[in-house]
């Protein structure tokens, strides 16, 4: 049974086929993470016309352009306020923000912390590739200390955010971290996020070989995937404050579904205080 050449893929059902192949580099992890999102949508039981995908700017933020849904590619950092407006106006929608570490935590950081604090009922899926891939590999808020980027030629001296701890501290009700290799687990976490009432955050660590892997002696995308295979430890019960991602050659990279709690979502407060419209 040799392979058979064909022209389409089962996942095309939820993609804009005419736009493929996508723009991402060989070995980039974003495509695999987008497929997790696409499968989560297909498995969610929620009709396609209720799913909305919103992004800011960056390589990761190109995802809405390939999803065959109602999608919005907003300005840099502003995906969360845009998504918040959509959700408040039409609470029936399943609103997902899909964007990168720089977009969500540098220019968009303030929106993230306040949406989590308010417990806005949206999903935020962040591809964390430790740099601003799209603009040539600058350091950002998740760049590990010591890492080489175009703006840290002597090694990064700033401590990065631990995104899982940040989300939990700000009030998210669901917090998970997986990698582009953990495609089944990432899909499942995304489905759980969709079911969750409130602010649900899934970080997906992914290779950016062009702007991060090569300059940090990791190598190609597949080499970073092997790093995940060897160094990831699954621990749902991990203390989120102690699971920084260092990308060290021997360091553990802790992944899991760390937090799943109940807390009134923003719309709930609205009804208590304001009554039915």
């Amino acid at each position: 049974m040799a392979e058979i050449a064909v022209a389409s893929h089962p996942i095309d059902a939820v993609l804009r086929r005419d736009r493929l192949p996508h723009i991402w580099c060989p070995g980039c992890g974003i495509g695999a993470v987008m497929a997790c999102y696409a499968r989560a949508i297909l498995e969610s039981g929620i009709p396609l016309d209720k799913h909305i995908c919103v992004s800011g700017i960056g390589c990761s933020a190109r995802v809405p352009g390939y999803m065959n849904l109602d999608t919005y590619h907003t300005t840099h950092g502003r995906a969360i306020p845009f998504a918040t407006g959509l959700k408040l106006v039409n609470p029936e929608l399943q609103v997902t923000v899909f964007s990168g570490d720089g977009d969500l935590f540098a220019i968009g950081g303030n929106h993230f912390i306040h949406a989590a604090r308010r417990n806005i009922d949206i999903n935020v899926f962040c591809v964390n590739n430790f740099n601003y891939g799209m603009t040539g590999g600058q350091a950002g808020p998740t760049t590990p200390m010591g890492s080489f980027t175009t703006t840290t030629p002597y090694g990064n001296v700033e401590p990065p955010f631990n995104l899982a701890a940040l989300a939990a501290a700000c009030g998210a009700v669901f917090v998970a971290r997986w990698t582009a290799l953990h495609v089944r687990q990432a899909q499942e976490a995304m489905q759980r996020a969709m079911q969750k009432k409130g602010f649900a955050f899934v970080e997906i660590v992914a290779p950016c070989p062009v702007s991060f892997g090569k300059s940090n002696d990791i190598g190609e995308g597949v080499d970073e995937m092997w790093m995940y295979r060897k160094q990831c430890v699954v621990n749902d019960d991990a203390d989120v404050t102690k699971i920084d991602v260092t990308m060290g050659k021997e360091a553990e990279l802790v992944v899991g579904n760390f937090l799943d709690i109940e807390r009134p979502a923003y719309m709930g407060y609205g009804k208590e205080v304001l009554g039915e419209a």
Binding site: M1, A2, E3, I4, A5, V6, A7, S8, H9, P10, I11, D12, L15, L20, P21, H22, W24, C25, P26, G27, C28, G29, I30, G31, A32, M34, A35, C36, R39, A180, L181, V183, R184, Q187, E220, G221, V222, M225, W226, R229
Partner: protein, 103 residues
């Protein structure tokens, strides 16, 4: 012989090993090797020829026909949606129960 008998699963006469048929969309592939490296059965290798963009896409390795377990990891790890598998449409003769295989 005795060892072979001991190692035979109790339900070996009824359980079929799942088998997959590999489908490829050659021109979508960017040659990242994710599917090749992480296939648990080492079914895939890079093609000898290249696609229209110059990448070596995956093909079933020589001698690996029938080895795909249809686990679909290649399907879900491919960042280009360029490979997938489906359960092979084998006749029962071509996909015998384990008990027969080990005779």
């Amino acid at each position: 012989m005795a060892e072979a008998l001991l190692r035979r699963p109790l339900d070996g006469a009824t359980v079929h090993i799942p088998r997959g048929q590999v489908f490829i969309i050659p021109d979508r592939c960017k040659g990242c090797d994710f599917c090749i490296d992480f296939c648990p059965r080492d079914v895939l290798v890079e093609s000898q020829t290249t696609n229209t963009k110059g990448y070596h896409y995956p093909v079933v390795a020589p001698g690996k026909d029938g080895e795909c377990a249809n686990c679909q990891f290649c399907t879900i790890i491919c960042p280009e949606y360029a490979i997938y598998t489906e359960e092979a449409q084998d006749s029962p003769e071509a996909n015998p129960p384990l008990a027969e295989v080990s005779q």
